[in-house]
Each structure stands twice: as structure tokens, then as C-alpha cells.
């Protein structure tokens, strides 16, 4: 199938079922002994969801805890796979599910830039080009050559965010991490996201901070109990959402 030029993410009839074990058999003995006991309860996290996100859109996913927002995001990144249905993404994709995943505490900030960016699939040359802007953005200065374990949690987050935001992906998936660092740095992150938005990057954000969503996103999708409750203009969806959950 030829990729539609304007599409960034295409989700068709996706259902995701988690198996919940009360007592998960992870050894052979348990598997053999309990093979006929149905201890798994199936929980439907996402129920037959279809949605399309075009290139350049900035989309927010909102909903109460446990509604399936983060699962949807994880499905888009290909960390987990749908039970049914298909998900296609077009273009380079970066996800910020958790900042600093894969940081190695004993390595310096600089080394971790290489390591972390390589997890995002960058080549050495590409990282060399971005190195300075990552360091500048993080505002870590000389600290960049100290081991990451000596960083404060705020500095740690700043470095992680700087790497992820400078990867230059076409699609950026962000999970509730807009509250990074101090006020000054948060503003800066916001500016950067605005800039990416203006550069026609596709951004999908999961957040509970309705104010920042209002500023950043044109489109909002409200997910409730594994289904799309409402999808459309941020202001309209937000009003409905506030009526029910506010």
C-alpha cells in the first residue's frame, strides 16, 4: 500500500486486551501445575478504535486515569502490539514515554547523549551535528562532563528532554512530561514545542494539564473506557470534558 502523503498516523479497528494474572505463572512448574486453571482475567483496554492523524497536526489525548490513553501511545510507538487491528505510522517517530529511559548513571552526560540518542535511532554523525544544540538547550554547561548520577532530578530531566526534543522526528509522542524542570525551563520546552508545531511536525500529547493543551493543540481526542468519546476542536471537546469530569 502506498503511503498517503498527508497521513502521519493511521489506526484501524484497534483493540487491545491485557491479560491480567492474579498469580502469573512464569516458571515451568507453575505452568504445568496450573495449566487448566483460568486465572487470567481479560481486560479490554482499547475497544475497536479507529483514528487518523494527519501530518502537522498537534493532537492531545485526554481522559481520566486508566482510560487507555497511554496504551494508545505505546501502541503507536510499537512497544506493544494490538490484539486486533492495524497501526501504521509514516515518518520517523520519537516517543517520550519516560524521560531518561536507558540513561546509564555512571556515564557522563555527554556519553549519555550518544547512548540515549542512539536508542532513538540516530547515527553518530547526526548526533555530532546536534550535540551542541542539545547541550545548549539543557543549560547544563560544564556539568555535561560529569556522571549522570551526580545530577539532580531536575537536571536529569532537562538533559533527557533536550535529547528527545532534538532528535528531529516527524512524529513526536509525549506522555505527561511537560512538567519538566523549573518554570524557566518549562517555558522553554513549551516554546520548543510551539516551534516544532510551526515546522509542521506531528505531535501527540497525553496530558492532564488542560491549560497547556489549550495553548498548544488544535485537536483533542477524549478517550473514555477504551473508546473515543469525542474527537474534534480542542475548545469544544474541552467543554464537554469539563462538564463530565470537571
Amino acid at each position: 500500500m502506498k503511503a498517503n502523503n498527508s497521513k502521519a498516523i493511521d489506526i484501524q479497528d484497534v483493540t487491545k486486551v491485557y491479560k491480567l494474572y492474579y498469580d502469573k505463572p512464569s516458571t515451568l512448574k507453575e505452568r504445568l501445575v496450573f495449566w487448566n486453571k483460568k486465572k487470567a482475567e481479560e481486560r479490554i483496554i482499547l475497544n475497536n478504535i479507529s483514528l487518523e492523524i494527519s501530518k502537522g497536526e498537534t493532537v492531545a489525548l485526554i481522559g481520566v486515569n486508566g482510560s487507555g490513553k497511554s496504551t494508545l501511545l505505546k501502541l503507536m510507538t510499537k512497544i506493544i502490539y494490538p490484539t486486533k487491528g492495524t497501526i501504521k505510522t509514516y515518518g520517523k517517530l520519537t516517543s517520550l514515554l519516560e524521560l531518561g529511559a536507558g540513561f546509564h548513571p555512571d556515564f557522563t552526560g555527554r556519553e549519555n547523549i550518544y547512548f540515549n540518542a542512539s536508542i532513538f535511532g540516530l547515527t553518530e554523525k547526526a548526533i555530532n551535528q546536534r550535540l551542541q544544540s542539545i547541550i545548549d538547550f539543557s543549560e547544563l554547561g560544564e556539568l555535561i562532563d560529569s556522571p549522570v548520577r551526580t545530577y539532580s532530578s531536575g537536571q536529569y530531566m532537562r538533559l533527557a528532554f533536550s535529547i528527545a526534543i532534538n532528535v528531529d522526528a516527524d512524529i513526536l509522542l509525549i506522555d505527561e512530561i511537560l512538567a519538566v524542570g523549573d518554570q524557566h525551563f518549562q517555558d522553554k520546552c513549551f516554546e520548543k514545542l510551539e516551534e516544532l508545531k510551526n515546522n509542521k511536525k506531528t505531535i501527540v500529547i497525553v496530558s492532564h494539564s488542560l491549560d497547556s493543551i489549550k495553548k498548544l493543540c488544535n485537536r483533542t481526542i477524549w478517550i473514555n473506557n477504551g473508546k473515543i468519546e469525542k474527537d474534534g476542536n480542542t475548545r469544544e471537546v474541552m467543554e464537554e470534558y469539563k462538564k463530565v469530569c470537571g
Binding site: 491485557y18 512464569s26 516458571t27 515451568l28 512448574k29 505452568r31 505505546k74 510507538t77 510499537k78 512497544i79 506493544i80 502490539y81 517517530l93 516517543s95 514515554l97 519516560e98 529511559a101 536507558g102 546509564h104 555512571d106 556515564f107 550518544y114 547512548f115 540518542a117 542512539s118 536508542i119 532513538f120 535511532g121 540516530l122 547515527t123 553518530e124 548526533i127
Partner: protein, 259 residues
Amino acid sequence: MKNLINNLYNYRLLLKSNVKKDIRGKYKASFLGILWSFINPLLTALIYAIVFPFILKNTEQHYVTFVIIGILPWTYFVNTIIQGTTCILSNAGIIKKVYFPREILPISINISGLINFLISCIIIFIFLIFSGIGFSKYILFLPLIILVQFLFQLGIILITSSIEIYVRDAEYIISFLINMVFYATPIIYSANMFENTKIAWLIRLNPMSSIINSYRNILFYQTIPELKSLLITLFGCIFLLLIGFIIFNRLQRGFAEEV
């Protein structure tokens, strides 16, 4: 398949930095550092060299060199299989958070083991020189034999590492099997000791036998390796590797949930 190769190529830096991390992280807090990859097999070989001449009636001449040529590739094999089997599990943190081709993890374990092995080959060369055995032109076969071993190990750990996620017994079963295979591999004894006995077929069936025998042929006996047996092993390993990739690909879909 083409997709996979493409994907791995794009993530080559991750592979490189993972290998670096494996090698540097391994001996980080120890005094002797990387020297341990020499000392350990060397000491093991010495123990065998002291004990076995008493047990076996007629050991080879230059028995220490003989054993070391067997022990070092075997150490590479054991380390790779043991670490490789748990490599997905021990990286649970990033598996759950970031997408990257999961094959990177077992491949980088195998590569960092290989680098360790290549460094420790210096010991083999030192022993060859000082025992007066020296080198022959057949040493040119060395890369081929190492390749066979590399593919064999990769095939195994692709399968075991992905099964380990679903059945945690895998690592215990594997470490027992390795102990067993040790005795079915001509490391401390020479392969022809069991010729014409009832278990000769068992030793011949073991791919590691063919690999260790080939190392020994080119380095110790300085003859051409048994090409037929080596080629059969090579094709077997390629077949195993393909099956490994298929199984891994099937099972990797559940890694983030099961790990």
C-alpha cells in the same frame, strides 16, 4: 528479513554503544579490569592441566596448550549463552519505554563476547609460541571457524532469550544443558579418544565438537580442518539462525507486556 537488516543498519550506533557498555561495564569495579578475561580461562586451564594428566592415562604432549585452545572458545560460548539468555529480561527497563529493534540486545552480547574472545586469543598465541608448536598456514581458517561459532551462538540466544521472557526456567535449564554439553565436547580430552565407542555419535552430533576440533586442527595439530564436518555445521548454524530470527520475531511482540 530485508526490513530487519535495514532496521538494524539504522540503529547501528545503538549496537555499537551497547557493545561498549557491555565491555566497559563488565569489569568496571574490579582492580584487574579487562585482565580478568585472560586470568579466568587461564586459571581454569591450569587446573585442568594439573588434574587431568592424573585422571587420563595418556594425555597429549603440550597438554596445557591443548586445553587452552579448547577452553577459550568454550568460555566465549558459555558466557554468550548465559548472558544472552537473560539479555532481554535484564533490559526490561528500556524494553518497556522505548522502541528499538530488540534483536540489538542478543547481537550486542554476542559481539562483546567475540571481542573478549579475540583479545584472549593472544593467550593462545603466546602458548603456541612458547610450547614450540608455532603457526602454520592453516591459521587462515580461523576467521571461518569463528564465524561458524558466532552464528551458532546467535541462533541459540535469539531463541533462548525470547523464551526466557515467557518461561523463566529457561536460564536454569540452559545452564544445566551447558554443563552437560561441556562433557560431550572435546575440550579436556581429544575427540579420537571416544572413537569406536558407543557414545562417539553423541560427540559427533554436537556442533561445538566440530567447532572445537577445527580450532584444534588448525592451531594445535596444524592440519586442515575437517571441511565436510565444518561446512555441515555452518549450514546447520545458518538454518538455526533463521529459525532463531523467526521465533524471536514472533515472541518479541509480547516482550513489553510480559517482561
